[in-house]
Symmetry: C2
Subunit: 320 residues, 2 copies
């Protein structure tokens, strides 16, 4: 009997990853190509199909494709579209419709944070949970919210924008036009901004005084903190304080069993989890205290995008 | 053929209302009794049964009881219990179990804000909606959140505590032990506190300078505002500003089609809705702007508690 697989496609600003995943979350094979952000969508999908087709051929006759799942920026689950993604020259693209021309199987799309949430539910740290939140700490802050086993899409398909809840209404300028959004503090970019603020305020010596804003990476801040750099440590503590405070608001809305941290900044482990947990507990409404787990992603780092996208469509297929 | 009805019970700190409601939201008959907050729960439920039984007798043989729904403070939908309600001498009470001894029909319980949300969905302003939030502006601020047609209960049954999301972490003392919770600003009590703050800061003449904190009612502030009292008007504007800002965070989480304002302070109509709407739109993440309706409750004022409680169990019966 042939083994059923789905195709997971993870569209990033720089690279697009894709792979075939079985029902248990085993990624049989995966590959990637450059996204080429300036290219129009039709050219992009032609290239993608060629690449995927070549990868599928390597699976020989042992596998059968049952569905396609896509994680992409500004994706709308209801309409199957991607709408004016900030880093891609696509405009409005009917992704599900286009992919149906290539692959004659059920296809679904959502943003990468939502795909991650379903990935965690089927294959990762949220297995067996029905109520949880996934926070992706990348360039920005994304979130996917699951209530009673279902992803919360909301009236328009755009629910789960915790990155744009407000920490400080007079605070840092956000790319969205507002001020003080959570993602201007709690993200790879946010912690860089915090380092700059701390460098401006204190006379403390720091490894980070030799690195420009543009060259600074969250990984560098993480390494500096591990070496005992006080500015770097304080930057993580402040980031956790802000994140924990805003997560306590989110808990009051959906009362999750767990909050799962995912993405580049989450790789700092206890450096980010400990101060976030401390601030979360301090700010929680009493009925929620000592209940909510704060845990790292349970998806393998290099495969998480493909697994999330694949999980999106596996989840649909299982509920049909 | 007999007409099917459910019994709705709305447990308040002062009065308990109960009534029989048909499938279309028509409240056939209702009555009330004193809750007697100091009385133990077993005595209370004995009294309640006698009263309900007498009311049921007036319906003669034309009706048949299909279920019982209860709205009560600190109620947990999952466990069927009320746990240490702040204003009642009950401790932990297994309400669903107790009621099953009296009425041999399906029974469910939740808090009053959640019951209101289901009431609005079945019989009120949220008919036909699948994603919305109900905010009850009473002594405190309660909320009921519906996502994809289902009430969000969360992992522990206590989801929907928007009243305890934080507006100002260094702000007003809240009864819950935290500082600056939304309900210390946006509620009947919150607007009284705002009036006192404004009276302390300004020299403006006001009708409200003659009334003590304890005697002041939100209805009085409403009437003063309608008469042009500047302090009263400013109090409503500030309340709306705070409420709109925190509602914009809630929209970013669940992306509702509408937010429905319910309860005493909501009766002020445009006085509260206009500044809330202005602040909401100003603070919304751009993808949600000009989409979210902010509307008053669609349930008849005197019947809303009974209708909400009744709707809770009608909703269960319809999905079985």
């Amino acid at each position: 009997m042939k083994i059923e697989v789905t195709l997971g496609i993870d569209v990033g600003g720089t690279n697009t990853k894709f792979g075939f995943v079985d029902r248990t979350g085993n990624c049989i094979v995966q590959s990637s190509m450059l996204t080429l952000a300036d290219q129009k969508a039709d050219k992009y999908f032609d290239r993608l199909y060629s690449e995927v087709d070549a990868l599928y051929a390597t699976l020989l006759n042992n596998y059968i494709l049952k569905g396609v799942g896509v994680g992409a920026p500004n994706a709308n689950y209801y309409s199957g579209t991607v709408e004016n993604p900030p880093n891609l020259n696509w405009g409005i693209v009917e992704v599900v419709k286009i992919l149906n021309n290539y692959f004659k199987v059920p296809t679904a799309i959502t943003n990468d944070a939502n795909a991650s949430a379903i990935g965690e539910m089927l294959f990762g740290a949220a297995k067996g949970m029905k109520d949880f939140i996934v926070i992706t700490l990348g360039t920005g802050l994304g979130s996917g919210i699951v209530a009673d086993g279902k992803l919360v899409y909301g009236a328009d398909g755009f629910a789960g924008e915790l990155g744009h809840t407000v920490f400080d209404i007079n605070g840092r300028e956000c790319g969205c036009g507002k001020k003080g959004c959570l993602e201007t503090y709690a993200s790879a970019t946010g912690i860089k901004r915090t380092v700059m603020e701390l460098l401006s305020k204190s006379n403390e010596k720091s490894l980070l005084r030799d690195i420009s804003f543009n060259l600074l990476e969250s990984k560098t801040i993480c390494n500096a903190a591990l070496e005992g750099d006080k500015i770097a440590i304080e930057a993580f503590e402040f980031t956790g304080k802000v994140l924990g405070q805003k997560l306590s608001d989110a808990v009051a809305v959906t009362s999750p069993e767990a909050i799962i941290l995912f993405g580049g900044l989450a790789l700092a482990g206890d450096l980010i989890i400990k101060p976030t947990k401390k601030s979360l507990e301090k700010n929680l409404f009493h009925v929620f205290r000592n209940k909510v787990k704060l845990i790292p992603s349970g998806l393998p780092e290099g495969e998480s995008g493909v697994l999330g996208a694949s999980a999106l469509i596996w989840n649909e297929l299982m509920h049909k």
